[in-house]
């Protein structure tokens, strides 16, 4: 049976849409490279890591302090959010009575939906002054880690919850028949069975922590320096783009696209590492 003319038109229209949808990721990379090329040609990639400082007005382009800012904020928040999120999911699945459990799940979903600018605003007016009382100025790496933790916690909690829900009930019955306590079941049976889902959650939250811009810009103080302590203000790669893009021209603008490329590079490396390291289910 040969397809009708209508069907052929339909399929080619759909293919057209799919080409557009599929091409966007490629377009993004192409445009980042195009816009980054002028400065890369002039000063080379190497100087983005070896220059004395970040001062585009004087042709100095060191991104490393901001790279450290991004990595430290990411590491801190992932380290705290992962146990909190996973145990939140454990609470939902194995400890809470059904009514509380569904309420708590709804709450985490709401938490996931709050926009980053609202988190940032709350951090700025509530959290930063609190930290400032402890150790001025308050806008700091610590504030950034705290806000990021709250923001990525729902991501890991919801993925962990979904992967716990997929653990075969037979496993749990087997554990119960062996007389294992609830905690021993969770640690010895549920975690190993759900590890691939937990791993996906870890990758998702890490990506979110690296890419977050507004909230971290609002609470971190944005001084270009490698933070020496938790109370030092600092600036992340994402915040740097958001802060300077408005007035950047020429090489400066181009350098911001280089930091965009670096961000994309980190995300791609993360996804690649995930594919290599992913534990088999």
């Amino acid at each position: 049976m040969s397809p009708s003319l209508n069907d052929t038109i339909l399929i080619w229209t759909l293919r057209g849409f799919a080409v557009i949808a599929g091409a966007i990721a490629l377009l993004i990379v192409v445009f980042l490279i195009l816009e980054a090329l002028p400065v890369l040609r002039q000063v080379g990639l190497w100087r983005f890591f070896t220059d004395a400082s970040w001062n585009p007005a004087e042709e100095l382009y060191n991104l490393t302090p901001m790279l450290w800012g991004t990595l430290l904020a990411m590491a801190g928040s992932v380290l705290i959010a992962t146990p909190l999120g996973v145990l939140s999911a454990v609470f939902c699945q194995y400890y809470a009575p059904p009514r509380i459990s569904s309420l708590y799940r709804r709450l985490i979903e709401l938490l996931a939906g709050i926009p980053s600018v609202v988190y940032g605003f709350w951090g700025l007016v509530v959290l930063v002054p609190l930290i400032g009382r402890l150790h001025p100025p308050g806008t700091s790496l610590l504030a950034g880690i705290a806000i990021l933790t709250i923001m990525i916690l729902p991501t890991i909690a919801l993925t962990a919850d979904a992967s716990f829900a997929k653990v075969p009930p037979d496993y749990l019955r087997g554990a119960a028949a062996l007389g294992l306590s609830r905690w021993a079941t969770v640690r010895g049976v549920v975690f190993p069975a759900a590890k691939s889902g937990l791993f996906t959650g870890l990758i998702l939250e890490t990506g979110r922590a690296i890419g977050e811009t507004m909230a971290i810009l609002m609470v971190c103080g944005n001084v270009v320096q490698t933070p020496k302590s938790l109370f030092d203000p600092m600036r992340t790669l994402t915040a740097n783009i958001a802060l300077e893009m408005a007035y950047a021209t020429g090489n400066h603008r181009s350098a911001l696209f280089v930091s965009g490329l670096v961000l994309m590079g980190i995300i791609v490396a993360l996804v690649a590492a995930a594919e290599v390291l992913k534990p088999s289910a």
Binding site: A25, L87, I114, I150, W183
Partner: protein, 286 residues
């Protein structure tokens, strides 16, 4: 023996205590954020705030033009992303084998797109829509940038909607000799509407929450937009600007944050309600 059973028992108690404490901690923080925004925002919020223009850089006055701009940006975003997204989802779900190279390529590309940080979308939108296509800082640029951003979410849930349609629909239609176009329009699309609507709602939620992708695509101008080529300030950018760049803007920032939160809660509530009550129901012969 007795010692080890004792340690297991205290271990058990400790773990139960720990898990409950964490849940309580997370709940407290959430309620803290929410009550802070509601408490401070509700005092500023009234009809006048929603219907007048901002004065003195937003310290006084309301957010009427900002609501209009936000709605226009969302409108552009959805007008572009829905046809492209639904079209792609239909192709992936109905007309492509899982082994198909093209389909795989598109899926992989969408996975990458879903992981792109929003600020990078902003860079791209600025370079492509504002500069290369010459749209400048405008509602159109902002909406198109957001459209790129919400595509992966939209496609994923629409595709799931189509996959939830039982395969005997397609087989029966084919057996009756109905063309695939007619099958799609008359049978599959109506049956897949729940997935589509949930995707739409999630997409709107993501788009309305976005700030970073809009700062240098749709811009900062807080006047009432006259066309899609005017720059317009989204609600999230208004909050950002008031809290960071305008001293004394906190009160109105709180009120704007409350407006944004209420909109989002409504949107997410709708999505959750639909997912629960509607998505699992399939059209059945009555």
């Amino acid at each position: 023996m007795s010692e080890s059973s004792f340690s297991t028992a205290s271990n058990r108690q400790f773990s139960t205590w720990l898990v409950w404490a964490i849940a309580l901690f997370v709940t407290t923080i959430f309620l803290w954020i929410l009550s802070d925004i509601i408490w401070h925002g509700a005092r500023q919020l009234n009809w006048e705030f929603l219907t007048t223009a901002p004065r003195s850089a937003g310290r006084k006055g309301g957010i009427a033009p900002i609501i209009v701009s936000t709605a226009l940006i969302l409108g552009v975003c959805m007008a572009v992303s829905v046809p492209v997204g639904v079209g792609t989802a239909v192709l992936l779900a109905e007309f492509t084998d899982t082994e198909n190279q093209f389909g795989r390529l598109v899926r992989r590309s969408l996975d990458v797109l879903a992981g792109v940080p929003s600020i990078v979308f902003g860079l791209f939108g600025n370079a492509f829509f504002c500069k290369t296509l010459g749209l400048g800082f405008s509602i159109l640029s902002g909406g198109l940038t957001l459209a790129c951003m919400v595509l992966p979410i939209l496609i994923r849930s629409t595709e799931e909607g189509f996959r939830a349609v039982p395969s005997h629909y397609r087989l029966s239609a084919a057996a009756l000799g109905i063309s695939r176009t007619t099958t799609l329009w008359q049978l599959l699309l109506p049956a897949a509407v729940p997935g589509l609507v949930v995707g739409l709602v999630l997409g709107v939620g993501r788009a309305i929450a976005e700030t970073a992708a809009l700062i240098f695509t749709s811009g900062y101008v807080d006047r009432m937009p006259e066309s899609l080529l005017d720059s317009g300030r989204a609600l999230s950018i208004h909050i950002f600007d008031l809290s960071m760049n305008v001293s004394g803007g906190d009160a109105n920032a709180y009120a704007s944050a409350l407006v944004l939160l209420v909109l989002l809660l409504l949107i997410n509530g709708t999505a959750a309600w639909m997912a629960e009550h509607w998505l699992h129901r399939r059209i059945t012969p009555s």
